[in-house]
Symmetry: C2
Subunit: 306 residues, 2 copies
């Protein structure tokens, strides 16, 4: 059993102090020499750095979000302690949002929702269609579960070629181009790193089917926005459904707004209402593992950057 | 083995004559004393009646749609022969459309698609939520399969209380009101009959949660439209997503158009492109059963009217 004096910052909330206690930890203030720190504010990186300077005994930091690229890019991140993030914890609502966007695109909901008159029959079913998912993490696994009843043949493209359970095939990123033709939907569910920034550009869009939808629930910077605007204008692909954009927020007047072949949601795949109970469950589990001296869930790999 | 001289009307198409032949039948013209008739035009009821008068030896009629209320209401329908419809055959694309509409409502896609500016985070997840489905047929079974990975607790309300596989509970129609409170989504997937016409009215809408969506992929006349308009205007329910309406087509200027809490699709849950291969598979199977003297799939119950 390790000591488990855990601070919750920048402001303790009852949900998370209860999660620490439920996991077997002792809730302490940031200036009471904590062993671990649960940090709840994804924007307050300066506050996080100050808390770590004030309490050098902190051996573990739990971050509140799944993608950590904005922490990894700061001096605050170091390998003198264990860092965990929420990766995987929010996978289900994010995968659900991805499915909702894909079905909305294939079923032509932008045109239907914009209509003020009865329209012509049209639309595409996802049953028995091939789809491609970039990324091999928790969102992909949850999405594969949601796609299973559609008998969708899933190709996963990921950093390694280690097979993802439930996928028809798993390919390494170098073979991305062989995974794009034929797919009814291309889902982006991967982490943002230098290697994946701009991974969808003109060549990738051209390799997709003219009937295919691109669904991005990862990070806006995975997609080269200018190339996407051009592909949507010229009909290179059928449409794009984006929960994340580059720039983000998408500015007023941007050409991605108001198109029948583009759906933009304002980074709401996982709202606070959805994520807070899931993060509390993750905190509870990691405190219990910290107390028991076990490996923590969602450890950040400083080399990979996620 | 029964004789199986099968006519395809009003105009034979290669897809369906091939299906008859694949099932072991002999394709004949309508005036060559057929034993069975595959009727492909859902609107040409007069042509169907004429074909039956001209060929009194027809012992089986295959209809091309799932809901037969417009045939049952005509003199053409009789119990001197076996009538089969496509019920169940189109269940998967219709269930898919129902799920697409439910997720679009819960994820606020009408507001997002109408937006020209980045919005506030909001939306609801279907994971672990209770839902209610009216109807116990093929669409319901397919929808239960699609909902399974969401761990949605499904209540089915149907004419009998015979349990539907995969449902958490199955209730008879008399207990409809106990199935409405608590449901995140109420799906309509039942047949239209005198008993189910107008089954959703002011009292049923009032019994639903103010956060709930109503999804109708059955028939427009299941819902009392005036009551629904009022419920949407007053916030009695969160929203309605309708693939069918009353009147249908929904006329220009109708108050259901253009609302952030209403989605209307023009009866496109199953487009011809989706249904034709499924109907051909049903024809092939029923011809094979007809040849073998077995019970046919999708037999219409003249008493129940579906």
């Amino acid at each position: 059993m390790s000591p488990a004096r855990i601070a919750v910052g920048p402001r303790p909330s009852r949900r998370f102090t209860a999660a620490v206690a439920d996991g077997g930890g002792e809730v302490v203030a940031a200036d009471e020499a904590p062993d671990g720190l649960v940090w709840l504010d994804p924007r307050d990186i300066g506050g996080l750095a100050a808390a770590l300077r004030a309490a050098p005994g902190i051996r573990w930091v739990q971050l509140p979000f799944a993608g950590v690229e904005n922490v990894v890019g700061h001096d605050v991140f170091d390998d003198s302690r264990v860092w965990t993030c929420a990766k995987g914890a929010y996978a289900e609502p994010v995968a659900e949002h991805a499915l909702a966007l894909a079905l909305a695109g294939l079923r032509m909901l932008p045109r239907r929702i914009g209509a003020r008159s009865w329209g012509e029959a049209a639309g595409t079913s996802l049953f028995d269609r091939p789809v491609t998912i970039l990324g091999g993490g928790g969102i992909t696994r949850a999405l594969i579960d949601l796609l299973a009843p559609f008998r969708a043949e899933v190709t996963v493209v990921r950093r390694t070629s280690e097979p993802v359970p439930g996928a028809y095939r798993t390919l390494p990123t170098a073979e991305l181009h062989s995974a794009l033709p034929g797919a009814a939907v291309v889902f982006l569910a991967l982490a943002l790193s230098p290697a994946t920034t701009g991974i969808i550009g003109p060549a990738e869009l051209a390799a997709m089917e003219p009937t295919a939808w691109l669904v991005n629930v990862a990070r806006g910077r995975h997609v080269q926005t200018d190339a996407l605007v051009e592909a949507l204008a010229s009909g290179t692909i059928a449409g794009a459904a984006l929960d994340v954009t580059d720039p983000e927020p998408l500015p007023d007047g941007h050409p991605l707004w108001g198109r029948e072949n583009c759906i933009v949601t304002p980074h709401t795949a996982d709202t606070l209402e959805m994520t807070q109970p899931l993060l509390a469950a993750r905190v509870r589990e990691n405190v219990a593992r910290f107390v028991a001296g076990q490996d923590l869930v969602g450890a950040v790999d400083p080399t990979a950057g996620y």
